[in-house]
Amino acid sequence: MKLVIALIVLVLGSLLFHVLSPWWFTPLASNWDTVDTTIDITLYITGVVFVAVNLFMAYAVYRYRHRPAQKAHYEPENKRLETWLTAITAVGVAAMLAPGLVVWADFTQVPEGADEIEVLGEQWQWSYRFPGEDGKLGEVATRYVAPDNPFGMSPGDPAGADDILVRSNELHLPVDRPVKMLLRSKDVLHDFAVPQFRVKMDMLPGSVTYAWFTPTRTGSFDVLCMELCGIAHYAMRGRVIVDTEEDFKAWLGGQTTWAEQRARPAADPAAGERQYATCVACHGPEGRGNLQMNAPAIAGMEAWYLERQLRYYRQGVRGAHEGDTFGAQMAAMAGTIASDSALRNLAAYVASLPAADSEPTLDGDPRRGAGHFNTCGACHGARGQGNHALQAPRLAGQQDWYLKRQLKYFREGIRGAHQADNYGHQMTMMARTLQNEQSIDDLLSYVNTL
């Protein structure tokens, strides 16, 4: 009897849960309303079967529960009934399958004139490439991939020169224009998925896959990697911003082409040395940093990392949060740099200063810290040496008090929360795996040993 009630309650409860659930598909933002229709059809058919079968079962259990002197009916089979049930089931299944196949046929047929945009996945970042003025994507190959050529652009293919390379997790798309996303991976499997667009497709190293859709409303949508790709899989996030045609054009105009990126002159450390005079007061003549001034050691830091941080300071991406008082100082200083080339010269000079090991100030357990460092090592290197390809700076040799402060900032969203901080959101997620001060001390004590 309890079972009968339980079955009925579960059936009704499931229906109620379904009706009341605030968790349902995100509002559609692409042309794939047909996908939603297919789901609705399946939902109704399966819903009816779910209710019918279980309520019938509940009734059978109630009606034919054991009572004294009751005897079961003996009936080996009932051909007619079974044939009918088979036929009805087959009809139901066909009703679900047919729309599915029709929509899938649409999905496999990319409309003519769809814009082709390449998505490049790698552990654990997204980048994008537009074909540029000639409307043709240049040739790429894994063997050309290098820190200064992350897309692996073929140097010999002229079609690649005007390709617009977007080395950022953020992609802009124009509204109401069909796009064919060409999906490519440099290392392992990834999957380009935007819940509001409904479609997704794996990215395979060694080949190019695709998915197409037409964004139908402007807005900002999360891009998620939906194929397990290693430790930071959950932090491989991006964003698609669907713009009006004009906004999109403006954004695209602000991006640089492969030719422009290649043509950039080399930085001049000698010129940077003169600019460094401003920095000496806090960071010291040799860039060794100063705990009293809360200035970190910067000598020997990677030029690309310094450039990025200086730009972030200038653009208000870093140091603009009210909790980051030292960052505000630095932002003010960075604002005095005259031009982008001056910035690059300065970074090149600082990078050329010899790095020195720092004095430990924390007293943690490096053995426990080594366990935590497994996570960090994936990007920053097993020896904390940094990894240009992943845009992960060197940690070994950096002052522990500075790293500790930055970890706290990341945890608390003081650093890295800005939309334009391309790598900050990932560090925020990673810093949140450290639950208390002791763990941070342990970790940094281990970093001190590197």
């Binding site: 034919y64 009932n78 009934l81 599915g100 479609v199 794996d202 998620l224 397990l228």
Partner: protein
């Protein structure tokens, strides 16, 4: 098809002479079954603990310091692999297959008892290799139970040095164990049935186990092939599955291999594996339902055909796991069609279970509770399969929690409901004691309601688009705060369900000594395993003479009979023959 039967004398029996040969190096199928079962349950508990850790992280993120993103992936991987292979496959076939086949077909033992013993020890070896990966530098692999290359053997994934190698070796060893056991099961069913036990008189349990074993024998080679080739890619630098790639900024030596090839191989094994687990469960639950409803299984022939048809079809649906894998999209049409076709025989099985209850005489004892619980969860899990099998719907739902909820419902909860039904049903036969009814009912209610509280809401996280295998889901715009609370409630349910399994363990061990003594055939079952001269059956199962079979296994509530069941070895009376319903008379 010839119905050969072994003469009573020809089977050599390896009589156990000492404790060691009786309980350790035993060649008795019943002892091997228990060995298989205990080992499987033990690793299953390890996997259960891992799932609790995963749920803690998902329900209460930013709380547990020791669960790092890498460790989380290791828990996910080991939980999945252990549950699917080392628990379900081993327990259903190695455990119940071993115990029930000889008894249900009326044989003294498996036809190759020595190989049967080896099968268990090799299985144990594979389990030890697997568990060893928890203790090697870097820990077990965190590549997900699907072990997709290239990521499974590249830096950036936990356990890339040792864990993945041990995993692949362990799988290869497991396949050897399974093959030795599987050869025994099919050969025993084909060759050692007793007199009168025609194929169509076999209980559905045997049909399920038999078909599943054939699937396993033919599907596991695909896993072996992929394991060997991936091992070579990892250890010898070959490029079977490994394309040219840049791993974490470093160009590796690999040349143009194909990661999708691995996926095809993996799922060519992986999909039949679903039925390797499901078919024995289908069979056993049919017998439990018929026995406790005191009614013949409805549509026995249709049930057999459905098992065979599902088994055959299961080899041509594998790529429905790969709709968004980047394989040629045209495959989607074919595999969506075959996949949805398989729903038809599966639905028929469900109808026939429910129709078996109809006009029955239903005793709601613990095994029956679990069996009805199975129908409910299986209906739910089967219907959500219609979503995922349909290629279009897979676009938004693949790799979300909908998938996780679906396969846990259909492949986790449902077979485990059957396993519990089977254990409560056959425990008296195995031990001669009854399990405690009160504890059993408490166990059922907590498990049944608890698992539904876990998995029903999880489907809705999937509809929302929450991705699976994510260590944390914070930092997106589309996932509302309420989804986090839902995750927390799922975790609480999961912990309750996990803890309630202690009731079961206590019951099993306590009843071993203190349970009520079981009568000879406590449920009034017709099938042969309850008709042995001793309960629990002794070595050799039968007395001097093997039983002869005169009827099918479902003569419950036959009109005109004195009792509401007639055992299979009960000769047909003239009376019966003349007034048999539907019979030619």
């Amino acid at each position: 098809m010839q119905h050969t039967a072994l003469a009573d004398q020809t089977l050599e029996l390896h009589d156990p002479r000492s404790f060691v040969t009786k309980y350790i190096w035993s060649q008795d199928h019943k002892v091997i079954a228990i060995q298989y079962g205990l080992t499987a349950v033990f690793v299953g508990l390890v996997a259960l603990a891992l799932s609790a850790l995963m749920r803690l992280q998902l329900g209460f993120p930013d709380t547990f310091d020791f669960i790092t993103p890498g460790a989380y992936l290791q828990f996910v991987t080991m939980h999945g692999m252990i549950m699917v292979i080392y628990l379900l496959t081993a327990l259903l076939l190695g455990g119940f297959g071993n115990y029930l086949i000889p008894l249900m077909v009326g044989a003294r033992d498996m036809v190759f008892p020595y190989m049967n013993m080896l099968s268990f020890w090799v299985y144990l070896l594979s389990v030890l290799i697997l568990l060893a990966s928890f203790f090697v530098p870097g820990g077990p692999t965190g590549a997900g139970w699907t072990l997709y290359p290239p990521q499974a053997i590249l830096e950036g994934t936990p356990g890339v040095d040792w864990g993945i190698v041990l995993m692949l070796v362990s799988l290869a060893v497991f396949i050897v164990a399974f093959t030795m056991g599987g050869l025994n099961y099919v050969t025993t069913v084909l060759q050692a049935r007793t007199r009168g036990m025609t194929l169509m008189r076999m209980p559905l349990t045997i049909w399920g186990i038999f078909t599943a074993t054939i699937l396993g024998l033919l599907a596991f080679p695909a896993l072996l092939v992929s394991a060997i080739m991936m091992l070579l890619d990892k250890l010898a630098g070959t490029s079977f599955f490994m394309p040219a790639l840049v791993s974490l900024g470093e160009s590796l030596e690999y040349t143009g291999g194909s990661p999708v090839l691995f996926q095809h191989l993996f799922w060519f094994f992986g999909h039949p594996e679903v039925y390797i687990v499901a078919l024995p469960a289908f069979g056993m639950v049919s017998d439990v339902l018929a026995c406790h409803a005191r009614k013949n299984i409805f549509g026995y022939r249709m049930m057999v055909w459905a098992i065979v048809f599902i088994g055959a079809l299961s080899f041509v649906v594998w790529a429905h796991h790969m709709y968004v894998s980047g394989m040629h999209p045209a495959f989607g049409f074919f595999f969506a069609t075959t996949t949805l076709i398989i729903a038809v025989p599966t639905a028929i099985k469900v109808y026939n279970w429910v129709l078996t209850l109809w006009r029955g005489n239903i005793h709601l004892r613990v095994p029956m509770l679990f069996a009805i619980g199975f129908i409910f969860t299986f209906v739910h899990g089967g219907l959500t399969g219609l979503f995922l099998g349909n290629v279009t719907i897979d676009l938004p739902l693949s790799d979300t929690y909908f998938v996780v909820a679906h396969f846990h419902m259909v492949m986790g909860v449902s077979p485990i409901m059957v396993l519990f039904a089977a254990i409560y049903h056959w425990y008296p036969l195995m031990t001669g004691r009854m399990l405690n009814e009160g504890l059993g009912k408490a166990h059922f209610w907590l498990t049944f309601l608890g698992t539904y509280a876990i998995y029903l809401p999880m489907h809705y996280l999937g509809f929302l688009g929450v991705p699976r295998r994510y260590f944390a889901i914070s930092g997106t715009e589309f996932i509302p705060e309420s989804a986090m609370s839902l995750n927390a409630s799922i975790t609480v349910s999961a912990l309750i369900v996990g803890a309630s399994q202690l009731l079961f363990l206590v019951n099993v061990f306590w009843s071993l000594r203190h349970g009520e003594r079981a009568p000879r055939n406590p449920w009034g079952a017709t099938s042969l395993e309850w008709q042995t001269p001793d309960v629990p059956p002794h070595h050799g199962n039968w007395g001097p003479q093997l039983p002869a079979v005169y009827r099918w296994a479902y003569d419950y509530s036959v009109p005109g009979a004195d009792q509401d069941f007639i055992p299979q070895n009960h000769p047909v009376s003239d009376d019966e023959r003349s007034n048999a319903p539907g019979g030619p008379a």
